[in-house]
Symmetry: none
Subunit: 350 residues, 2 copies
């Protein structure tokens, strides 16, 4: 296992990595070109001075990567180096120009972030249960890949291996297009009467949340991946045309909305992992301590594994509704059992 | 104050209204054409039989409104009637045809909803701190408006008065356009390799959340408001063209993203009214039956009430992460207690 890590770039990602590693007895040194960010990150992380880091993590904006990489391998030619940039073909290309051997460079991309940036937004659990892509090339040393893989697992993330080109195509679809659409949608609010904005609900808030993201970070990402993105935007213009043509007919509208629903359903569970087909079992309970425990004891008794659950209750309300997500067989067993012993179960019949 | 309310339509909105009113000593009768929905809603709400309701709330889909309105005013010609539909010009027009006096009808629209529907998703606090539009016309009796206004305030919402046409223009921008964009974005995921979707982060999840909405509900809303929507979609096609033209230049991209940021900043409040302040307590558990039960038994022992929770786990992983939402005091008590008896708790230090 890696024992010492130098992190260059004390933004959200770099500082979050630092916070998490330092709780695992790994020595971390935080570096940033901005003295204030560096001081804050050092305090948060418990940064130490490292003479010769085993691993260097470059967590700067894309545009600073090349310069920082050159500086660091001049100082520490034997260290493993990884990046965390949102585009993978570009830093790999930068590295190939600087260091034709480049066996010690591992390109990676943690699929985690927040719409707020900086060390002050860092959290040690930012990567827990998230995917973290690595894109090794033919030149990359297997030993370096293995060390980086171990480190990512320490951070709680699971490793996904992709080639760099597939990675950039994937993130255009699942990250860059959503960012651009959220920004375009939010732009339309610039000239709406203020009174109308008072009607905003959770739908508008969620769809525009990432429009608050850092434009300086994103301009580089979008610009670097502009070829993929351009194709997707042209295709979206076309999709909008199809939607406009459907507006006169309810069934055509429903069909288009259904396509969206089926695309949405393909997004895996809360974090990686396949989206699974659950059966949902609603149960009305009294809203007081002990009720959930009692239900889960019955689940354990019947050897039923709860995959997910939601609780719905409101202040001042005597009843709460919990909805358990189960496999179909478990749902049937549990529903019968709970009903038989007097719980208020409302199975959904399909 | 109104003392008895008949709610026709036991979906999300109708059932949520029922739950909230019944905690305020208002007699509520839930009606639904589907027996299962009606039974569940009656259980949740504590529905009673009402001989002559003072107020009838029509909480059906838009397409059922006209028929239900006719039935109800035939049964109860003296009751006040309100609707909760997402479009206001259409039901007002329906009512004018049926009942030319129509003094007792108040058209309203609560700005609250969820991407999941049905009585099983109802919650009594759905309307707390939300806007609730009323669109009285020249025919509407001031007394009926006043009674409806009082009722909305009991539900915790604040009343916004608009004329019906302005309402429909406003919701096209702040509700219907976000819905369509979310669906179009999610549609693009239909043909993406499954492996790529494993990389999905919170940005994609948030922007596509409402793509899971009920297409049968939305096809009616979108169709009814198609003239407003058509203009907005044409304008969006144009905005996308502008974005494509900007892709070659980082500063132009940043300018467009900044317009989005400034539009986003115009949305009032951070989370739509009073956000409930929870403290989140992550706990790593083994992914097997009995673990959740054991944790909830400890919650009950410590008299700690769990407000909400999420479970994150992936196939092939031995551990799962559950995150409990608690009030700050309970989180502190439970965190110390669970740590002391050997659970793997990761309190977030702010």
């Amino acid at each position: 296992m890696i024992a010492s890590v130098r992190i260059v770039g004390a933004g959200l990602i770099g500082s979050s990595i630092g916070m998490a590693l330092s709780t695992h007895d790994i020595a971390v040194e935080m570096i940033d070109s901005d003295p204030r960010s560096q001081a804050l990150a050092r305090d948060l992380v418990g940064s130490v001075v490292i003479a010769e880091p085993e691993l260097i993590i470059i967590a700067t904006p894309l545009s600073a990567f090349k310069k920082v990489f050159e500086e660091q391998i001049r100082l520490y030619p034997d260290s493993i180096v990884m990046d965390i940039g949102s585009i993978k073909t570009k830093p790999i290309h930068d590295v190939e120009i600087i260091d034709t051997k480049n066996a010690n460079f591992v390109a990676t991309h943690p699929m985690a972030g927040r719409e707020v940036g900086g060390a002050e937004s860092a959290r040690g659990d930012l990567f827990v249960s998230r995917s973290w892509v690595i894109t090794p090339t033919e030149s990359t040393s297997p030993d370096a890949v293995e060390k980086v893989r171990e480190l990512i697992q320490v951070l709680g993330a699971h490793v996904v291996v992709l080639d760099p080109t597939s990675h950039d195509a994937a993130v255009a679809r699942i990250s860059h297009l959503p960012q651009i659409l959220s920004s375009l949608l939010a732009s339309t609010l610039e000239n709406v009467p203020g009174e109308w904005l008072e009607l905003a609900g959770a739908g508008l808030r969620d769809t525009t949340r990432i429009a608050a993201s850092d434009e300086n970070l994103w301009k580089e990402i979008i610009h670097s991946n502009r070829e993929e993105i351009s194709q997707l935007l042209l295709s979206l213009q076309n999709d909008i045309g199809v939607f406009i043509a459907a507006l006169g007919d309810e069934e055509s509208i429903a069909q288009l909305l259904l396509k969206g629903k089926s695309g949405k359903m393909r997004i895996p569970g809360k974090h990686g992992g396949k989206a699974r087909e659950y059966t949902y079992l609603p149960i009305v309970i009294e809203d007081k301590p002990g009720q959930l425990g009692a239900i889960f004891n019955e689940c354990a008794l019947m050897q039923v594994n709860v995959e997910d659950l939601t609780i719905e209750h409101s202040p001042g309300q005597l009843n709460a509704l919990i909805t358990l997500a189960l496999n179909a067989n478990d749902a049937s067993i549990l529903s019968d059992h709970l009903s038989a012993i007097g719980w208020n179960v409302h199975p959904i019949r399909k």
